[in-house]
């Protein structure tokens, strides 16, 4: 049966857009203006296609949908295979939503090499979408690595003063990971003779080999998450990246690690995943507490939010590796919520950065006086980040902790302290930036958010509340795919799942 290749269309449309922008000719000003418009239109159409795709997506099925399969390197049994399930579909939507927002956020603030900038974003979108829909390990690897090229350029070319250092750090960390990931993929291919991800999900790789492969995957994914102690590239990358770069970095790129774990490590290497749970829990708990404390003393807004991202990602890895229904769904939900909230927080920083060209917290203060709308918007995302119930931030963290409690009370207990620390550093940030007397004269002249900026924030605010008040729309479609991963994990490790309903007798545990 030949189906319409909607995933490929969606994936490569931005690339086509990039090519079109490349062809733009004329004086610098008109090229820049046209590049912006083309990028916005293309990304909006891509978003539309992704919504159309989601409308046809059946959330009750655990398997992959809209599958496209063509031989790529026939001699090696490597295919161009695309498809989405309940796990990847939301990351695709997140990417297609955030790209037009990034284009809009860069509308006025990027003034040099606008054409190349927009091209970079279009290429970035293609690689992200390809990565999330690839169902062949080699194809996945190509996209996974390719994502980083435009990201490099965005930081390295359009970044701040220390972009050299930041891009270099980013490079060093990922280099190690990508080599090991490649070797692991090679070894899997050698062992099983296939790189087909759905097929590998039911393969049986010997447990000892699984452990080595797991560590190789971990080397790559842990950097992306980022997990402690390979996280130090993130604060620098965020600080140096332009606003839109930070948005896409926090919003989508940090999810690549979690997605990798959930898509590859756990289903393909279930035994090793189980074996390394204590390691992952340990690193995650350290990440939550360590980075929360570090966030408390930051003097740079972007650094603070970057460190808070690491803490939130700690919840993700705890949730994913706890491998109970609530925890994994919670981990997924934290990723989606963080994708929206941290992106919005970086946009909030961008708003004031555009006006005062500094990220130093001490240079602000008293913004609420002249920027009440901004203060309210910032407040909403700050609270969502803190995990207040009825915002998206709560649902995910709550489910992670509820689910992880069954597996390790100590992990849950320690991770939950992050909730207290999270409130402390975010409120402290908010107080220093928004509240208080105005002490700097230039702050007094700052204008409140304009219509373009409000247009950027409104959909994000709506999502924060939608996800917080009626999360079922998001959890229900991902549940079957997650259940499949959990079932495989449990059967590979001979875990008898907790009685899902009814009351267990106390003697039973």
């Amino acid at each position: 049966m030949i189906t319409f290749p909607i995933l490929s269309l969606m994936t490569f449309l931005p690339l086509l857009g990039a090519f079109f922008i490349f062809l733009l000719r004329g004086d610098e000003k008109s090229v820049a203006a046209n590049a912006r418009i083309v990028a916005l239109l293309v990304s909006l159409v891509t978003f539309g296609i992704s919504l159309y795709m989601y409308a046809g997506f059946n959330g009750a099925l655990p398997g992959f949908q809209f599958v496209e399969n063509h031989p790529w390197l026939p001699g090696f049994n490597i295919h161009y295979k695309m498809g989405v399930d309940g796990i990847s579909v939301f990351f695709i939507l997140l990417s297609t939503l955030l790209t037009p927002i990034c284009v809009l956020a860069s509308w006025d603030s990027v003034k040099t090499r606008v054409r190349e900038y927009m091209m970079a974003f279009m290429i970035l979108e293609t690689t992200m979408l390809g990565m999330f829909s690839a169902l062949d390990l080699v194809l996945f690897y190509v996209f996974f690595e390719a994502v980083l090229i435009p990201m490099y350029l965005i930081i390295g070319v359009w970044g701040g003063k220390n972009r050299v250092y930041a891009a270099f750090k980013f490079f060093l960390y990922t280099l190690l990971g990508s080599v090991l990931l490649l070797i692991a993929i090679l070894a899997i291919y050698h062992q099983t003779g296939t790189t087909d991800i759905p097929a590998l999900m039911s393969s049986a790789i010997p447990p000892d080999m699984q452990k080595w492969l797991f560590l190789a995957f971990l080397a790559s994914f842990a950097v992306k998450v980022p997990m402690w102690p390979v996280h130090t590239w993130l604060p620098d990358a965020h600080v140096e990246a332009p606003t839109a770069g930070s948005v896409i970095l926090a919003g989508v790129l940090l999810k690549m690690g979690g997605y990798g774990f959930l898509r590859l490590s756990l289903p393909i290497l279930p035994v090793a995943s189980h074996y390394f749970v204590p390691l992952i829990f340990g690193l995650s708990v350290i990440a939550v507490i360590y980075t929360s404390l570090v966030a408390l003393v930051q003097e740079d807004m972007k650094k603070l939010i970057a460190y808070s991202s690491i803490a939130h990602m700690g919840f993700v890895t705890i949730g994913i590796f706890a491998m109970t229904t609530q925890a994994v769904e919670g981990g997924m939900f934290v990723m989606l919520s963080h994708g929206i909230v941290s992106a919005a927080l970086f946009l909030c920083v961008g708003v004031v950065y555009d006006r005062l060209h500094t990220r130093e917290i001490a240079r602000y203060g008293g913004l609420v006086k002249n920027m009440p709308v901004y203060a309210a918007i910032f407040m909403i995302f700050m609270l969502a980040s803190v995990g207040l119930p009825a915002t998206s931030g709560f649902v995910g963290e709550f489910l992670v902790l509820v689910g992880a409690f069954k597996v390790s009370t100590l992990t849950t207990f320690l991770a939950a302290t992050g909730v207290v620390l999270g409130a402390a550093y975010m409120l402290y940030l908010y107080k220093r930036v928004v509240f208080g007397e105005i002490v700097h004269d230039d702050v007094r002249k700052m204008k409140d958010v304009g219509p373009r900026e409000i247009a950027i924030f409104v959909p994000l605010i709506a999502l924060v509340f939608w996800m917080g008040i009626y999360p079922t729309s998001f959890i229900a479609p991902m549940a079957p795919a997650i259940e499949k991963v959990i079932t495989r994990y449990d059967s590979a490790n001979h875990i008898v799942p907790h009685t899902p309903t009814g009351i267990a007798t106390p003697e039973g545990r």
């Binding site: 490099y152 390979v230 649902v395 100590l410």
Partner: protein
């Protein structure tokens, strides 16, 4: 569409808050006040109708709204559970809140952000209503955090003031520490019951009496563990000793906020929660003992602090903490109905006292220090009378509301056998003496004696407008007749029908019934010490006015301890706040900077990047680097592949 009373009672304040908050600038302060007050009236009206329906006609019900979180076995919905307990709370919250809304029109008349203020008040009320009408623990947690948030916003309402901002953060973070316990309690509950719905939990509580949970490597009695963790949450929200330091600082907010949040509603959330969870607490005997002790200590220690404070609002704040202590030790001895009765009467007289003190502050042009007051009773006679009524009720003087409820608590406590209960009883009676003492110390220092304010201030002292006084009259009515009128329902002969199944007490253990048989000296003790307290205050602050100073001098260390609130703030600052920042800085500079970066990327960078940095342009340099990396990858790929194939 048919509008239900339940929905109106809970969602009218949300609507009002949303309108005033989002469109306050457009419609203006007056319209915002009008909208919120009207909707609060609608809410309170519905609540009173429901009170009649549910409590007097015994017809509890639950309104299901829609699914909230559904993940595997975890299913919780947004719902409005109107059983007897919830209905009492809804009535108290909405009535007091309506009074506060109206009062604020006058009190905040000169403020720049009236629409925002009234929006916050309404949203706060909504959060509290969601808390008390929850039919599962997660919605309760929503309300719980919601009131925490709104109190953060209201305490920090005057957000250009540094002290207000700090107090707001302190309140939120302190509450979060409590919420941390509550959240763990939720998790343990789900672990044990596979559900967070009250009906499932309560139905299976008895079966779980002997269950154990492994927690942090130790086996605990499951219900004791859950109840202890939940109680940590209650300690935070209800300002019990240890997690109380945010409450007095919360007085940074405008006075109506103090009346609403820190007297009548938010701080009672902990008391409500324990009563709500009574089917679990009944089996958690050890935890209830702990609650009794904590309640007794809180009641006493807060009262000792109150007698030394000079800020009129702080005195009342500590008195709130002390009264919450009473409620908790009532809960500890299974006198749930007495605790809720005291919550009910306390809401009226404490709101009255706070709003009355607000009226004093308003008259004094913002002055809160009692040392700068005195001789006000002729100038603001209405307020003066209101403060008397509030104080009489607070001190538990017969016929006033507080008498019936406080007496009931102490009697129930006395009736309960055992050292713990009697320990709490002694502390409670001592606190009753101190309560009467500091209440009249406040009255005498504020209203009597020679004016200590300057002439300019005294000339401007004026009685508050009717919009502020009428709410005081309403509350005063409650503070006067609330105890007498409702006694038979809450703790009297009608109590079983009144409460229905909403409060659970183990069979054959009804401490309220036992309280009728205690010796008469024990029954009269609270009222006697109360009157004594008033007389002592009269002697010290009206007659022998030099004596208090001498006492302070003679007992300098004790006074310093009390005046400085037992140094809780200083200890927490030194042990909690300072280390967090120091450790954070060390982890950042040394951990991230020197160790991870120093050994990792920076170390490598020093070696690799030496040459390339100068020679190549930034951009091309990095594309080059990346290409190099890819090349390395490909080389490794090919090498390994050849190696594998050859094997």
């Amino acid at each position: 569409m048919h509008l239900q009373l339940e929905t109106v009672a809970v969602f009218a304040p949300l609507l009002g808050g949303a309108i005033a908050g989002l469109f306050g600038k457009k419609i203006g302060d007056k319209a915002a006040n009008f909208v919120t007050c009207t909707l609060m009236l609608a809410s309170a009206g519905s609540a009173i109708a429901l009170f009649y329906d549910i409590l007097l006609k015994h017809d509890p019900r639950t309104v299901q709204l829609f699914t909230w979180i559904s993940s595997g076995a975890l299913n919780v919905s947004w719902a409005l559970r109107f059983d007897q307990l919830a209905t009492v709370m809804v009535a108290v919250v909405t009535v007091v809140s309506t009074c506060v809304h109206f009062y604020s029109i006058g009190y905040m008349a000169h403020d720049k952000a009236r629409a925002r203020f009234t929006a916050y008040l309404s949203l706060f009320t909504f959060a509290m209503l969601m808390l008390v009408t929850a039919d599962n623990l997660v919605q309760l947690f929503f309300g719980w955090e919601g009131v925490g948030l709104m109190s953060y916003l209201l305490i920090g309402f005057w957000n250009e003031k540094e002290s207000a901002n700090s107090a707001a953060i302190k309140a939120f973070v302190m509450n979060r520490i409590g919420d941390f316990g509550l959240a763990l309690g939720l998790m343990a509950t789900f672990f044990l019951f596979h559900s967070l719905d009250f009906k499932d939990i309560f139905a299976h509580a008895a079966e779980m009496q002997n269950a154990t949970i492994m927690f942090l490597g130790h086996g605990f009695g499951a219900l004791n563990l859950i109840c202890a963790l939940l109680f940590v949450g209650a300690m935070g929200k209800s300002a019990q000793l240890g997690l109380h330091t945010w409450l007095p600082d919360a007085m940074e907010g405008p006075t109506p906020v103090s009346a609403l949040i820190h007297a009548a509603t938010m701080v009672t959330a902990g008391v409500f929660m324990v009563a709500r969870m009574s089917p679990l607490y009944e089996y958690a005997v050890d935890v209830r003992m702990f609650i009794t002790i904590m309640g007794g200590l809180t009641a006493f220690i807060a009262a000792t602090i109150a007698i030394t404070q000079f800020d009129i609002k702080r005195v009342i704040a500590y008195s709130t903490m002390s009264q919450l202590g009473y409620m908790f030790f009532a809960l500890g001895v299974s006198a749930y109905s007495a605790a809720i009765f005291h919550l009910f009467t306390h809401a009226f007289f404490k709101a009255l006292l706070f709003l009355g003190s607000g009226s004093v502050i308003h008259a004094m042009g913002g002055e809160q220090d009692m040392r700068k007051m005195g001789g006000l009773y002729k100038k603001i006679p209405h307020t003066y009378v209101m403060m008397w009524i509030g104080s009489l009720a607070l001190a538990g003087i017969p016929l006033f509301a507080g008498y019936y409820s406080k007496d009931m608590i102490l009697e129930a406590d006395f009736a309960r056998m055992g050292h713990v209960a009697h320990f709490a009883w002694v502390l409670g009676v001592a606190a009753a003496f101190l309560t009467a003492f500091y209440s009249w110390r406040l009255i005498f220092m504020t209203f009597h004696g020679k004016p200590r304010a300057d002439k300019h201030t005294m000339d401007h002292v004026h009685e508050s407008p009717p919009v502020m006084l009428v709410p005081l009259y309403v509350l005063a009515t409650g503070a006067t007749f609330g105890g007498w009128a409702f006694r038979k329902f809450f703790v009297g002969r009608m109590r079983f029908k009144f409460w229905g199944k909403s409060l659970f007490v183990l069979k054959g253990d009804n401490v309220i019934s036992m309280a009728e048989h205690i010796p008469s000296w024990a029954g009269h003790a609270p009222a006697v010490v109360g009157v004594t307290g008033i007389l002592v205050a009269f002697w010290l602050y009206m007659k022998a006015t030099k004596v208090p100073g001498k006492i302070v001098k003679a007992f300098k260390p004790v006074h310093s301890l009390l005046f400085n609130k037992w140094y809780f703030d200083e200890i927490y600052h030194a042990l909690g706040v300072v280390p967090a920042f120091v450790v954070g800085r060390i982890l950042w500079k040394t951990g991230d900077g020197k160790i991870i970066d120093g050994l990792g990327p920076d170390g490598v960078a020093r070696v690799v990047a030496k040459g390339s940095r100068e020679t190549s342009k930034v951009e091309t340099g990095y594309v080059y680097h990346y290409a190099f990396a890819m090349l390395l990858g490909v080389v490794a790929f090919i090498t390994a592949y050849i190696f594998c194939v050859q094997r």
